[in-house]
Symmetry: C2
């Protein structure tokens, strides 16, 4: 089993995903929120690229969720906070969501053998799933508008660390994500708080979102893309 | 003064280089060899993109140097080893060179306010130059065929570390290069030897090249691109 890391959507052309399990990672906050929502009873989440697509699903009864550049889209019922997604009123509902980075990365992952959703909130379930399926893995960091970011790389490194006895690191991207995680593992929240994206979000008073997204294994779910829907 | 890191040529479109000093980094081995050669008395090095351009300069009296995928180009006088470049017979000569990654990154840097060449072999001179010029800096890793690599990122991290009191890290790329360097600084050669590119080169018995390229401050030179030539 081989494991590799793509640091940003701008590098995805370097990888052949068709026989791989792709783990999409957008720690702040899209994939964390997806895990929290599907772990709290949301029936399905449909990621879409544009606000207009989201609105079209809204007219079919979906709850509309999403942000642009960190801020809730004004006319939507909810933004991109994991706390929004854990609202008990959403149990059994279908949600449509569009975000700056995470939903774009999911779109680019279509064509892979399997697409799943990873976050610190479901680290161990993701690792167990990857070990069981024994497929080659690409950890795909959503980044920030095509740019590298710390928190997604750190999660990729956490998966590499957990799989180091079982998987061969295919490139220096995997090796360095692993080393970075090893140097930061003692205090993930501290390092994530030092990231550029955390600084951006703190302007919107989202400090508690950031703290929550650094928590480990709050949910025992592995969201999987089936057609255009994420389900567990 | 701001400092940022571009991890691979495939991400250079994300950076506005026109008012910046760009430091081109290809530790294994192009920029290490350039520093060794210009530090040993070569008059100038002209990086070119293709074998044909190199041959054209060869017909004008330039020494032809270069590699493709790590191997010397058969009809050239020298490959891409720092030891080739330190040959005393090259004193006062002009060299034309083409390599897989480094010369391509130099080409992509044209248009910057200033382009200089960095390697562990001239780390302190590069840092001193950057401090004195007080210009915004982009550390540009040549990578491997567009992909991220460990050794170039590690050098970028070493520069970030040296400038951390003087410069603001512009992005997580700079921050993570810095953290990676801090976790590996105690034994650079060991970590560089674990890189993918070191594994590729060791197939060609280039172990002593790799060891040499991990040495610090062997040469007190800062090669600079003037027109199409690197000089000191």
């Amino acid at each position: 089993m081989k494991i590799d890391v793509c640091y940003t959507p701008d590098l995805i052309h370097q990888f052949d995903i068709k026989d791989k399990t792709v783990v999409v990672i957008d720690i702040l906050r899209a994939t964390s929120s997806m895990v929290a929502g599907l772990g709290s009873g949301i029936q399905s989440i449909t990621p879409v690229a544009t606000i207009e697509e989201c609105e079209a699903l809204g007219r079919q009864g979906y709850v509309m969720a999403g942000e642009r550049s960190g801020e809730k889209v004004a006319q939507f019922e909810m933004g991109n906070s994991p706390f929004d997604y854990m609202n008990p009123a959403l149990k059994g509902r279908k949600v449509a969501t569009t975000t700056t980075n995470g939903t774009q990365a999911i779109e680019l992952s279509k064509g892979a053998k399997e697409v799943i959703i990873g976050a610190f909130l479901n680290l161990n379930p993701v690792v167990n799933h990857l070990m069981k399926s024994n497929n080659d893995v690409l950890l795909f960091c959503a980044g920030w508008k095509g740019r590298y970011n710390l928190e997604d790389t750190l999660f990729a490194g956490a998966v590499c660390n957990a799989l180091k006895q079982n998987a061969e690191f295919e490139s220096d991207s995997a090796l360095c994500a692993f080393f970075l995680y090893q140097s930061m593992a003692t205090d993930l929240a501290y390092y994530i708080n030092r990231s550029n994206h955390a600084a951006r979000l703190s302007k919107f008073n989202l400090r508690e979102d950031i703290e929550y997204c650094a928590k480990l294994n709050e949910f025992n779910v592995v969201p999987k893309l089936i057609g255009s829907e994420l389900i567990v």
